[in-house]
Amino acid sequence: MSTTKSLFVRRYVPGLVLLAIGAYFGFVVALAEFNNINLGFGLATGLQAAIAAIAAVAGTISFLIVDDVETSAKGPNILLVAGIICFLIGSYIGLFVAPPEQHMGEVQRIMYVHVPTAWNALLAMTVAFASAVVFLFKSDWKWDAVMEGSIEVGVVFAFLLCAQGSIWAKPTWNVWWDWDPRLTTTAVLLFAFLGILALRRFVEDPVKRGIWSSVATIIAYVDVPIVYFSVKWWNSLHQTQSSPGTVSKQFYLPLRANAIGILFLMTAFIMLRARISALRLKQELAPPPLVEAQLGEVV
């Protein structure tokens, strides 16, 4: 018992420390913005926000790296709880505290989930790409499982992104769909990664499945910037990105809280999905049960 406990502690402590730092600075930034109390060691708020974001991302990545997808679901469970808390706080501020936007009105509130979804969808695809590269070089099955998880979660997020975009575009631009670079790139990416999932379904040999889908993932990921630029030259209408400098803090606080919350949730989903893949693979690679034993059961 004590050995498993110490192993667990050793594994997750760096990630937990990073998450704690992120949570502290996130809380301090929020406090400073609403009540003008500064507990951030005299650092500028922008720097504090950056520390919070970097600590949260680094903590999540360290969870993903140390997590043993086969035996334990503790890592994803911690992230799941943290993610739900952040997402609830962000959504509350976004829906009830932040004022409606001047030109777009209440519709603009969808941005508090839309923009974080976009960031995290791209991040999920990046995790897939990184796992594909690691799997090709190290042949560690964990990364095959993480790749499958992140492709699937990335596909779900890309689909959500297109759906949210359509919901927002209908009242704003009066169309469901527009051939803008980011929208089109997302759609292309969605189909490219769906193709890879289909490939994984059709290949029975686990070794070939892992290698081929890694190769396909790398090829598809390299395509992202090319698709983006080609569509950008072809047609463009989308809003240019806003930077925190041009956005009032009442708008970017819920955005950041949701971004971090969705990041935690996404990573937890990837890890849980990877766990399913890893266990399935274990079953696939396990020797078939002895025929005699089965016969004995029947008798």
Partner: protein, 218 residues
């Protein structure tokens, strides 16, 4: 590599009936596209580049899928891999052979397009260059994916499923370039698209070559 290319070309020459069938498929696709739009000559001319490249793309999946079909019979691919050559050589031999066949197919579809859509041009060298660059963008990833999908069930579905989203930039650039050549280029956009297409080709011809030996290894 020359030997690998020669083998592929010989194989293609022996199955030239297949090429004719693919050409007829492409040409009939071009014929069908005009039914989708209606007999408006001006619109047809405007969309002619898009139709031609879609016809070429649809035909290319047939050609590409076929290119590894022969290797799967009697497990010939394993025999090839036992030869004391780098698998990369086999890949480039196949990719170049596929590319040449697609170039030929593209050239053959141009007169069909000119007749059906009244989309003639005198800038034939430029058009030839675009067809060569565009089909190069199809054949590099297409050959790699054909190597994978030829070994699994339902390969007819899987190859386009993987290939189509990937080649969106190449298709876009080729269509744009072709229509700029046919309809004129008042904004001088030709060279920018040409660069994009060349970059796509360069990236995928090198990347797919690098990754191919992992795909066929046992």
């Amino acid at each position: 590599m020359i030997a690998a290319l020669r083998k592929e070309l010989l194989l293609q020459w022996r199955t030239r009936a297949q090429f004719m069938a693919v050409f007829v498929f492409g040409a009939s696709a071009l014929l069908l596209f005009s039914f989708a739009v209606g007999p408006n000559a001006e619109i047809l001319r405007q969309f002619s580049a898009g139709f031609m490249w879609l016809g070429l793309l649809l035909s290319s999946t047939l050609t590409l899928a076929e290119s590894f079909h022969a290797e799967m019979e009697n497990r010939a691919l394993e025999g090839l891999l036992l030869l004391p050559v780098n698998p990369r050589t086999i890949y480039y031999g196949k990719a170049i052979a596929n590319w040449l066949q697609l170039v030929l197919l593209g050239f053959a579809l141009v007169p069909v397009m000119v007749i059906l859509y009244d989309a003639g041009t005198t800038k034939l060298p430029q058009l030839a260059l675009v067809i060569m660059l565009g089909t190069a963008g199809l054949s590099a990833p297409g050959t790699l994916y054909a190597a994978m999908t030829s070994q699994v069930r339902s390969r007819q579905t899987l190859l386009p499923l993987l290939l189509f989203p990937l080649i969106v930039p190449a298709l876009l650039a080729s269509v744009k370039l072709t229509s700029l050549i046919i309809l004129g280029d008042p904004m001088g956009q030709l060279s920018a698209w040409m660069k994009l297409l060349t970059a796509f080709d360069a990236i995928y011809w090198s990347l797919c070559g690098l990754l191919f030996d992992r795909v066929v290894e046992e």
